[in-house]
């Protein structure tokens, strides 16, 4: 295949797919440069090619060549340029996959509100269609298409892990009544998780099990459609996004539940709650999508579970996952939980919607070719964490948890646990902190009033 064919197809698809919001974002930029200081890539590297305006300009030039009045006739005057060679597509790949996590920090700091993440999403999807996606990403996307989960965990392994976790929790609580229900019809909610919780971090699912059991909730997990992550969001491929959402909604419908509770996963929650309607996911019966953070906050605020913060005595800080804070508005619920579950909660600066990305980028870890640069730009997050003096950094996203582990490792981040004793900062989840602070005796033996049940 000639390289020009690929470039032509890219340009043609670009013309067809671009939305009004994206066209506005491309047309409006006045090149004021204020976005530069919002970007962790630019702040750490100081490389002028890392400013969001420069990165966006790589695709903006294509837009200007096709749509701008001047760009069509005097392209050099406004920086317009057609894509005609594969090398240009390679450059786009490097930038839009390797140099931007789509965290939207530049968007909220832009006087116009140019949505960089939207441009990233569009460009990534166009590149993937031209078979120019990073190998690691293509693999996880294929796994989601074929197995229904990004880590290709087989049904047998998944169910065995749930049984094993159930035994672990029973043993820990010394309560044979603890169950992790699977496909329980008539449950109040279906709990969907990040495959990392099955394969690498089962403590998180154990923590959730303890909390749900203690609160006496009527819940279930699904044998299908249990992966809440969505590489449709990361890759910009709406068809995959729709597919993954449909798997979960279909399972919810089969089981007759009214709520989908999404475990601690930033882009998972964002996909199910906010992107699904954009991707055209149609659910016949209304199913409410709730984050486990909202559920935890409510369990605590209504006194359904009681916490003893002395069980988490060491200082902790909270990292706001971009997809939860800047793209879903969930900034207060985790803080509400942590202030009650931990004795010493410290804020990072800046925080909430101004927080810096951990470099996880909702899937960036799958692209190992960009790891060196990604690790380099972790410095800004590391300095934020170090400034708090916290022993643990808590987050509510498993992708961020991996990103933060890289931040800690790459920057050899340690904290003083006791006078003179330093150890590497640890990464925890909100569920983990809440479960650790649970006062089991006072709660689990109390019968729940009907109103407190889901």
């Amino acid at each position: 295949m000639k390289s020009t064919d690929r470039a032509k197809r890219f340009s043609e698809n670009f013309k067809q797919r671009i939305t009004r919001q994206q066209a506005l974002a491309l047309a409006a930029c006045a090149h004021c440069g204020i976005c530069a200081d919002s970007c962790h890539y630019y702040k750490v590297t100081g490389d002028p090619k890392m400013t969001p305006a420069y990165k966006a300009d790589r695709i903006r030039r294509v837009f200007k060549r096709q749509f701008d009045w001047t760009g069509r006739f005097i392209p050099w005057w406004v920086g317009a340029e057609a894509v005609s060679e594969d090398e240009q597509l390679e450059e786009l790949k490097e930038i839009f996959f390797g140099c931007c996590t789509g965290c939207r920090r530049c968007t909220i700091n832009c006087p116009f509100g140019v949505d960089m993440a939207g441009l990233v999403s569009l460009t990534r999807s166009l590149l993937i269609d031209e078979n120019m996606g990073p190998t690691g990403l293509i693999k996880v996307m294929r796994d989601q298409w074929t197995t229904g989960n990004q880590m290709a965990i087989s049904d047998q392994d998944y169910l065995e892990t749930l049984r094993w976790l159930q035994e672990e929790v029973r043993e820990e609580l010394d309560d044979p009544g603890v169950t992790i229900p699977v496909d329980k019809k008539g449950a109040d909610f279906l709990y969907i998780v990040n495959p990392r919780e099955i394969k690498y971090a089962p403590m998180s699912l154990m923590a959730a099990t303890k909390i749900f059991h203690s609160a006496g909730l009527n819940w279930t997990m699904g044998s299908k459609g249990w992966d809440n992550t969505n590489y449709g969001l990361f890759s910009g491929k709406a068809d995959l996004g729709r597919h993954m959402c449909n798997l979960a909604f279909t399972q919810a419908k089969i089981l007759g539940v009214k709520q989908l509770v999404v475990s601690e996963c930033g882009h998972g929650f964002r996909s199910m709650k906010w992107e699904a309607p954009i991707w055209g996911v149609k659910v016949e019966t209304p199913i409410q999508v709730v984050s486990v953070l909202q559920l935890l906050a409510e369990l605590i605020s209504r006194g359904i579970i009681a916490l003893d913060p002395r069980r988490n005595p060491l200082p902790v800080t909270y990292h706001d996952p971009c997809s939860l804070s800047r793209s879903s508005g969930l900034t207060e619920e985790p803080r509400y939980c942590l202030r009650r579950a931990c004795l010493d909660f410290r804020e990072m600066t800046p925080n909430r919607i101004n927080s810096y990305c951990c470099t996880g980028g909702g899937g960036a870890l799958s692209m190992t070719e960009y790891t060196p640069l990604r690790l380099r730009v972790t410095r800004i997050k590391a300095s934020q964490i170090a400034a708090t003096g916290a022993v643990s950094v808590v987050t509510s996203c498993h992708n961020c948890a991996d990103g933060l582990a890289d931040v800690i490792k790459a920057n050899k981040l340690t904290a003083e646990v006791e006078p003179g004793v330093h150890r590497p900062v640890t990464v925890r989840t909100v569920c983990d902190c809440v479960a650790n602070a649970l006062i089991l005796d006072s709660v689990s033996k109390q019968p729940l009033e009907p109103s407190k049940k889901l």
């Binding site: 939305t19 009004r20 919001q21 994206q22 066209a23 506005l24 047309a27 409006a28 006045a30 090149h31 440069g33 204020i34 976005c35 200081d37 919002s38 002028p48 090619k49 400013t51 305006a53 420069y54 749509f67 009045w69 001047t70 005057w77 909220i108 700091n109 832009c110 116009f112 509100g113 140019v114 949505d115 906010w274 309607p277 954009i278 055209g280 409410q288 709730v290 909202q294 559920l295 409510e298 369990l299 605020s301 209504r302 804070s325 800047r326 879903s328 508005g329 969930l330 900034t331 207060e332 619920e333 803080r335 509400y336 202030r339 800046p350 909430r352 919607i353 101004n354 049940k453 889901l454």
Partner: protein
């Protein structure tokens, strides 16, 4: 020459050419907006919430509450620059568009002092921005010939406005009107047109973040927020 005495050249600029330029600009606006609506379909958006209107208002209001934006909070001077330059440009456009009726008003001392101050400060900011665009690597890299020329043109216009006020000297008046006319004719083909897109972008931004509960940014504490939000149990 008295301000009331106007030569044929100045009269031509005042009544004919600048009216033509304004008409051209309005036509270009209409065509651009029509193009935007026809060529690009709006991305499906998430369902409205009760806070959508507030969020859209908040997105617009951020223009005058810069401390809510981290970029301007950290660098208030950049906001001051932005405010001064855009105020000066808006004043120049306003003066240009209405001069044939407001010329006498502009000759009043207090008005003239105000106008001169606005134009001069705007021109200084224009120069500062031009120098920054040339001096800083990251700015050079994102700058096109149009970026330099637009800024230069606007700065020159503001300088001519500063010199022309109170519009008593015909030469300065003609220079101010000429550059203004050039600006207006050039606008639709340049980055100067960015302000046309601003309301649209802010509207979509407000809607997008409003639906998701990001905008308006919640000023209350975590405790209040949790008590206030919808119950799930």
């Amino acid at each position: 020459m008295d301000s009331r005495e106007t030569s044929n050249t100045a009269l031509f600029f005042l009544t004919e050419l600048h009216t033509l330029a304004l008409l051209f600009l309005v036509t270009a606006y209409a065509i651009k907006i029509a193009e935007l609506m026809q060529k690009f379909s709006v991305e499906t958006i998430t369902p409205r919430t009760s806070k959508t209107l507030r969020a859209v208002c908040y997105a617009f209001a951020l223009l005058v509450i810069p401390w809510r934006m981290d970029s301007y909070r950290r660098d208030p001077l950049r906001y001051a620059e932005f405010a001064v330059l855009h105020l000066a440009i808006a004043t120049a456009i306003g003066t240009f568009a209405t001069l044939q009726w407001t010329r006498a008003f502009c000759t009043r001392e207090i008005v003239a002092i105000g106008l001169r101050g606005v134009f001069l400060s705007g021109a200084i900011v224009g120069l500062v921005r031009l120098c920054r665009r040339i001096a800083r690597r990251e700015m050079r890299l994102i700058s096109t010939p149009d970026d330099y020329f637009s800024l230069l043109l606007v700065t020159a216009w503001l300088v001519s406005g500063w010199l022309a006020v109170p519009f008593a000297k015909e030469l300065y008046l003609i220079v101010f009107l000429t550059i203004g006319t050039v600006c207006l004719f050039y606008e639709p083909f340049s980055k100067l047109f960015h302000y046309l897109y601003w309301p649209f972008l802010r509207y979509y931004m407000g809607q997008y973040f409003g639906h998701r509960g990001v905008y308006p940014v919640r000023p209350d504490s975590a405790d209040q927020s949790v008590q206030n939000y919808k119950r799930y149990l």
